[in-house]
Symmetry: C2
Subunit: 304 residues, 2 copies
């Protein structure tokens, strides 16, 4: 256990792909830069998926190009990829980290990727092998790790098994995703405690949505278990286009504030984070903002 | 530890006293009845304070009178009182439970009650002695148990001492109030774990505000420590007129949903609770609603 927590802002990917408004490349670059300037450790910059399926993510290679002038942006940038073709596009675009999605249910694997759980695993193993040669880090994200909108509650044993396999395969990070925001904190506490006991916390992360207002409670529960890596989304942008009932990711605004108050080091400057959050709201016209944003902005004003 | 959790809805008091719109007696009665009909264990029906200081709470005796026809309403109704005069008014109105506020800071005691911490304690001891003879239960609520807007962070030792004294005096419940919604879950976990270890959980409760979006995280942290009594407010109504920076209480809507999902028995029918929440919104015109209310309403519709 350490006092440092790594935040990955997934807003420019998980957030923007769910907004009605599609942003221009330079807007996406500006948003990523603003988040990076606030000191966020890692940023999911975009995805290399079919532009027909997810129009908002077309041109992610140009977003990477727009970040190339400053090495600190490139170093913190991740790309979500659905398959080997996506991996190659991400690599060619200069991504140093890629996220590949695994599934804890066949229903979600079919709907989201038209694959079985086993097929998604096989693809990810192939990508891991390529990435090792290319010097690219791989994040293996286990979707619907707590509940699936198609198959119902997820058996923790299924998640424990897929996590164990990808820890053994040498994935650089393995992330439990509560894709539809259905997890409750006791469930999170129990599953993460078991996984940290088995694998340590070094490579384990969590990804929560705030659908049922339990985002921060779930982050706290995972922190208690020793988890020190979290996905969150600037201004609470987010959702999942193929998962009915999914709403915004837990917001980076709220997570950074809570962790700061709990004494953890995230590297984030809360004042600059509010600027990034304001920008996200302005660009999308729909960002809900962090739930605690009114309080936080008032506090920052008073203590400036 | 038990699987049953007692919810006290403080909306008709802590909520309504902070709304711009002052409700008529029959509207207040209707709101209390709706909350009681949803199965909420205890309801803070109003306060017996100066109508000049808190106009929204004038006529609380008439609210009690409006509940007298059904014994189950009277049995679950609490009155907040500031002093012995308030106690006598509450008793005469038929209250079977009263809440008296103690303070973990002198700054808040002065601003809220124009007393010192010690004076508020002395008054509460007098009230405890009267209430024992009258067969009335006393809830001793420790305000600013985590942070005070005037005196800053609260020393946990101060809270531990006042809780120990009122446990010893025989208070029926002792409630830790995060009056301005400043607590973070690790702080809650640590303090409640120490108090449950010392006094057991039977008479201990927690009262959280959602100012920084950590309301549910704090409820979970206290549940982990064994706390089984929580204050919350229908539709998230709330605040504190004398505490700068305080916003709404954590909503009963959210707390009841989370606890149900975690497998606890609260006695609450979530569908009927949504009716009470809708009524609160309609009557006040300002109720923010539970944060998870859109999700919960959709879920209840789909599973009806």
């Amino acid at each position: 256990m350490t006092d440092r927590i790594i935040i990955t802002d997934v807003g420019p990917r998980d957030g923007l792909q769910n907004q009605l408004k599609i942003l221009a490349t330079d807007e996406r670059v500006a948003l990523v830069r603003a988040i990076a300037d606030a000191g966020v450790s890692q940023i999911e910059v975009g995805s290399f998926v079919s532009p027909k399926a997810v129009p908002a993510m077309a041109g992610t290679d140009q977003v990477f190009a727009g970040l190339r002038d400053q090495p600190e942006y490139s170093a913190t940038s991740l790309a979500l990829i659905p398959n080997m073709k996506g991996y190659q596009l991400a690599r060619d675009a200069g991504a140093k980290m890629v996220t590949m999605v695994l599934y804890a249910s066949d229903g979600m694997a079919q709907k989201n990727a038209a694959m079985s759980m086993a097929e998604a695993e096989a693809v990810t193993v192939d990508i891991l092998n390529c990435a090792r040669e290319d010097g690219i880090e791989v994040v293996a994200t286990v979707a619907v790790a707590f509940e699936c909108p198609f198959d119902g509650p997820t058996d923790p044993a299924v998640v424990e098994n897929v996590v164990a396999r990808f820890m053994a395969y040498g994935a650089d990070q393995v992330v439990l995703a509560d894709t539809i925001g259905a997890a409750h904190p006791q469930q999170v506490r129990d599953l993460t405690a078991a996984l940290v006991a088995e694998h340590g916390a070094e490579r384990l992360g969590c990804h929560f949505h705030d659908t049922r207002a339990m985002g921060l409670a779930n982050v706290f529960a995972a922190v208690e278990s020793g988890v020190r890596r979290f996905d969150s989304s600037i201004a609470g942008l987010g959702g999942c286009p193929f998962a009915p009932g999914a709403s915004g990711n837990v917001s980076t605004d709220d997570v950074a504030m809570m962790l700061a108050q709990m004494g953890f080091e995230t590297g984030i400057d809360l004042g600059k984070l509010m600027l990034a959050s304001d920008l996200a709201a302005r660009l999308t016209g729909t960002a809900p903002g962090g739930r605690a944003k009114p309080w936080l902005q008032n506090y920052l004003l008073k203590t400036a």
